[in-house]
Amino acid sequence: MTIGTRLTLWYSFVLLLALVVLGGGMYYELVVERDETKAAGRPREPEGEEISEVVFFYAVPAVIVTLVGGWWLMRKALSPISTLTRAVERISANNLKERLNRSGNGDELDRLTDVFNTMVAGLESSFTREREFTIHASHELKTPLTIMRGQIETALREDALTEPQREILSSQLDEIQRLAGIVDSLFLLAKADAGLVELRRESIAWHELVQEVAADAELLGASQQLKIRAGQVEPVTVSGDRHRIRQLLLAITDNAVRYNQPGGFVEYRLLKEPGHAVLTVANSGPGISLEGLARVFDRFYRGDPARGRAVEGSGLGLSIAQWIAHSHGGTIKIESNVGSSTTVTIRLPVGV
């Protein structure tokens, strides 16, 4: 039986009940009471009074019966939907194998359950395909890289090599490592897109990581005489994957140091706001144009080509940083004044 039919039948029952109350009242007022007055020899009540008695003593209860009945009916009609919602909520990327139970009475909700189950089955198979694709593609790309690296290293062990030959082979080793790094980053992003990266959540003293990375920045920036300032750093705890959070900090720090000028600065500030920890990393970089800012999180985006600076990097660091911030329920944004400074702001929800 469909929900529509069921609801109609139940509602007619409620209405019938209300009618019985009303009808019974009218019968008592207009027939039984009149007979009683007549028998007792009292004068008949005026009709207007009778009607208002019917309205107050019987119509009002009848309305209340319909209201209560209607409310009960709606609850009954909606309860399978809330059960279904709870069941749907339990299903996430991690347990796509789960299916919803059908109630078996062939109504609209059963059809919805079927459609949902079919959809989850489809999702499950595409997740599996994605996972397998990532594993296979990674294997296929890394096998040749492994062979190239191993063979070049083997060749470099030969004493008979001339210096120029050695130089070429060594430079190839560098490039292979760079390529391997890009392959790793790309696969991390591909898996992140597919929701396949697991985060190991724990409580993290965010300020300690910030201070650690500021110390690293000190060294990274030493050759450019950068001044590293840790301004106001308030103690705050966030919940997240320690490695990923560090990776995020390092990516931002690395950019802040690379895109800077000799004698410039990098400044860290960590503030606690209600519900959020707000980290800003400002630097005296050349700045990013407006078009650049719009694309700065795009994969392989490498800044304004016109500037043509020979800065190494894969162009994937900020994409990964963005994914890390988002996957921790946070945000990351970049603001810039061309020619003077750039500020990265990372907001993460405060943890316990």
Partner: protein, 225 residues
């Protein structure tokens, strides 16, 4: 020392075999997972180098199988995935070490050697290389009698390099052991620290002890000038 290499990719197996043989190890190569248990049960090997993706039984289940039978051979897993989860899974299955492809050959050799003599050397307290000494209890370093002032991370880096003196330490291995990162930080942090350390340890001395192995990493050893 006898090493069994299980790797189905012919070229990889070939240069791994060559590199290990050059170190003086006796090497045997298998190209599938099913044959490992029978061979390891009948022949004594000191180290097993095992690829995870293999025809037949995969590397992880080979390790589990060995451990279930109480076969204690040190196992080094090789994998193309290099994910943190997989690493944890591999070590939980009973592997002793783990190397992500593409690995540095020099590092594979160094780690296989370390696995082979596991249990042999318990961490020495005083490390020496030429006229450089490192007291691992008081965290004090001296070169030719002059104390060297080291920041904590510089100390950890020097200790790691000196403990593996003579062996090449890959950059990723340094990142893992000294920084505790499981990911490639994508910065030249390691190189910067090495530069610092080199200034403190080698500057002003004729005999240099800290050397760069291009494309691989760093090594501490005595080289005659």
């Amino acid at each position: 020392m006898r090493v069994l290499v299980v790797e189905n990719e012919r070229k990889t197996a070939s240069f791994v075999r060559k590199a290990l043989q050059e170190e003086g190890f006796a090497v045997e190569v298998l190209d599938n997972g099913d044959a490992v248990l029978p061979l390891v049960s009948s022949t004594q090997f000191d180290v097993l180098v095992l690829d995870i993706m293999l025809p037949g039984r995969d590397g992880l289940s080979v390790v589990r199988q060995l451990r279930e039978r109480r076969i204690k051979i040190p196992v080094m897993l090789l994998t193309a995935r290099g994910e943190v989860n997989e690493k944890v899974e591999g070590l939980n299955a009973g592997a002793d070490d783990y190397l992500a492809k593409p690995f540095a050959l020099a590092e594979l050799v160094a780690r296989v050697r370390a696995l082979g003599r596991r249990g042999g050397d318990t961490g020495a307290i005083l490390l020496r290389l030429a006229d450089l000494s490192l007291d691992t209890v008081n965290h004090r370093a001296e070169r030719a009698g002059n104390p060297i002032d080291l920041a904590p991370r510089e100390y950890r880096l020097l200790e790691f390099l000196m403990r593996s003196a003579g062996q090449v330490c890959a950059r990723m291995a340094i990142v893992e052991k000294v920084w505790g990162y499981d990911f490639d930080p994508g910065t030249n942090l390691v190189d910067v620290y090495i530069m610092r350390l080199r200034e403190k340890v080698d500057a002003g001395h004729e005999r240099k002890l800290l050397h760069t192995v291009r494309g691989v990493g760093y090594v501490m050893k005595e080289m005659t000038p």
